[in-house]
Symmetry: C2
Subunit: 69 residues, 2 copies
DNA sequence: AATAAAAGTCAAATGAACTTTACATTTAAT
DNA sequence: ATTAAATGTAAAGTTCATTTGACTTTTATT
């Protein structure tokens, strides 16, 4: 899962800590999501979408997954 | 978090088991999500959106949360 | 009424999201 | 070169998403 958080932050000149506080999560959570360590929960994705006034799909992009079997 | 999975299934005449298999999750996961027991992960929400060819927001609706403090 | 399929539910287990604390590295300013 | 702020990272713990297996209840069909 890719995301545009870093860019959206940069456009607004926000630090990871400021974004974290706006979303009520820890700074490490924002850092981990930006670095692709894990995906946000759906509720957190919704919060970010509301904050930036964007659709979830405009912030987070699913990598089309290779299904074996 | 509300969702329209049951209706979307009904429109297509799919069982929970069929939807589960289309999304590569267990039937119990679909049941629990439909019954509001928990929210899907973001990747699962994306899968559902792709399957139904809808935006995530057209399937899942966040309840605007009451923030105390 | 009997049967079968679908839906609901529960418990135990696993993995992933998220927290807190703490420290190291990078970036940018003086 | 120092300093401060921002970013990166790691470990340990908690909560929640998801699985498997099993059982009960509901809904349709015959």
């Amino acid at each position: 899962m890719k995301n545009r958080l870093k860019v959206l932050r940069a456009e607004r000149d926000w630090t990871q800590a400021q974004l974290a506080s706006a979303l009520n999560v820890s700074r490490q959570t924002i850092n981990a999501i930006e670095k692709g360590k894990f995906d946000p929960s759906l509720p957190l994705a919704f919060k970010a979408a509301r904050l930036f006034d964007l659709a979830i799909e405009e912030i987070f992009q699913d990598q089309v997954e290779t299904v074996e079997n």
